[in-house]
């Protein structure tokens, strides 16, 4: 029987939402990005799960789990609410990166009768499972996740993860209290569509969400400007994550540490 858990839309469709665009401080434990590579793999092939976890507190423990994975039916799940039902949760590990040996589901029938649910018959040999990363600290817990999409037999698309492009985050200007420095993130030649920024302190002139600044076959670039607080000295971290619409590629990220000296 088809398990239909249509509980929400894409969690990340809020990329442009202004309230999130301004919530860019590493003031609590945050799982900034999660990836499960290679994307588009067939069930039964391993996936490597990685995450970018940052915040003001030391991470004491991680737990990584999947939800809704069954060996008797196809599941296609949007949303993280699945994790509220412990019976549907499969623990995957307590450290990152981890390699998830996904189950072989090739024996499952592909077409599924949706009976009188009102949904169209579901004919694809595919599943989608949310994977949740929880980062526990003494003060709080950070959450992040990724949808892992798998074909149960032959992949309909190429199913090949493209090599991660070279990328580097450059800080232009002197990191002094009260100064404004330019943040330039160069990626090439693959295209990423949107970029999310986080900082320990200060103001991001272009908010915590930016688009492409340069888009060319040779390489792409996004930029931001960081205003360092007048009273800040010490290490100031800047993180940036690049993502694609529809998850065409796994997210990539960079982190730099600025030493802010008077």
């Amino acid at each position: 029987m088809l398990l239909l858990l249509l509980v929400a839309c894409l969690p990340d469709d809020s990329f442009l939402l202004g309230n999130r665009a301004l919530d860019y401080h590493l003031d609590r434990t945050r799982v900034l990005a999660v990836r499960a590579t290679p994307i588009g793999a067939i069930a039964g092939e391993p996936r490597t799960i990685e995450a970018l976890v940052m915040g003001p507190h030391a991470v004491e423990r991680l737990d990584v789990s999947a939800c809704g994975l069954r060996d008797d039916s196809l599941t296609y799940i949007w949303g993280m609410e699945c994790f509220s039902n412990e019976e549907l949760v499969t623990p995957l590990g307590d450290a990152l990166p981890l390699v998830w040996e996904t189950p072989d589901l090739s024996a499952l029938p592909c077409g599924q009768d949706t009976a009188d649910t009102g949904f169209e018959p579901y004919n694809e040999c595919e599943i989608q499972i949310p994977v949740l990363v929880r980062a526990h600290t003494a003060e709080d817990i950070g959450y992040g996740g990724v949808y892992v999409h798998m074909w149960t037999r032959e992949a309909r698309s190429t199913g090949v993860e493209r090599p991660e492009p070279p990328h580097a985050l450059e800080v232009v200007g002197e990191a002094r209290p009260g100064a404004e420095v330019e943040l330039v993130w160069r990626i090439g030649p693959s295209r990423y569509d949107y970029f999310q920024w986080w900082i320990d302190a200060g103001t991001l002139r272009s908010t915590g969400r930016t688009g492409l600044y340069v888009d060319s076959p040779q390489g792409n670039e996004t930029r931001n400007r960081l205003v360092i607080p007048d009273d800040f000295t010490g290490t100031l971290r800047v993180a940036v994550v690049g993502s694609t619409l529809y998850g065409r590629r796994s997210p990539i990220w960079d982190v730099v540490e600025l030493e802010v000296r008077p």
Binding site: L10, P11, D12, F15, L16, L17, G18, N19, A21, L22, R30, V31, L32, A33, V34, R35, A36, I39, G40, A51, L52, M80, E126, Q128, Y143, G144, G145, V146, Y147, V148, H149, A155, R156, S157, T158, G159, R162, S190, R191, Y194, Q196, S206, T207, G208, R209, T210, G211, L212, Y213, V214, D215, S216, P217, R223, V241, Y246, G247, R248, S250, P251
Partner: protein
């Protein structure tokens, strides 16, 4: 009871901090009724600076800050100002322009946003790069930082 009566008589009672309103952007007047469509913005020229001017208001009279999240290129716009410049990339691909207004109430700020297309948008707001053409179905939406 009196409160309920007042709510019934005057519509939504202001028990919460209401978000700011965008009154006008680049001369285009925002709709004041539900059945009015949102305007497009005047045409841009790739590679050329694009002047941005907004007129805003707030139901409670709070201060209003203006942001442009997720814009391709760079926007020079002091959040406390009402005009600025968007540096349109030469390779701009029609993503649109999102405006986010947030009031300055310290402990309970409220915000609202709008996304605009332009008079000369082709509607092709996304294009794959050369390596993406074969990738039609693998869908792993990264959802990092799912919130609390």
């Amino acid at each position: 009871m009196i409160l309920l009566a007042l709510t019934g008589c005057f519509g939504q009672f202001p028990l919460i901090n209401e978000p700011p309103n965008l009154v006008r952007i680049n001369g285009r007047v925002m709709p004041t009724r539900r059945n009015q469509g949102q305007p497009t913005l005047p045409a841009y020229t790739p590679g050329q600076p694009y002047e941005l001017t907004v007129e805003v208001s707030d139901p409670e009279g709070d201060g209003v800050q203006v942001f442009f999240p997720g814009v391709q290129g760079e926007v020079d716009f002091d959040p406390d100002a009402r005009s600025g410049v968007w540096h349109v990339p030469e390779t701009y691909s029609g993503w649109g322009l999102t405006v986010y207004l947030r009031d300055t109430r310290k402990n309970d700020p409220a915000g609202a946003e709008w996304t605009f297309t332009f008079d000369n948008d082709s509607g092709a707001w996304w294009r794959p790069d050369s390596g993406d053409s074969a990738d039609s179905g693998s869908d792993t939406g990264a959802t990092g930082d799912t919130g609390r």
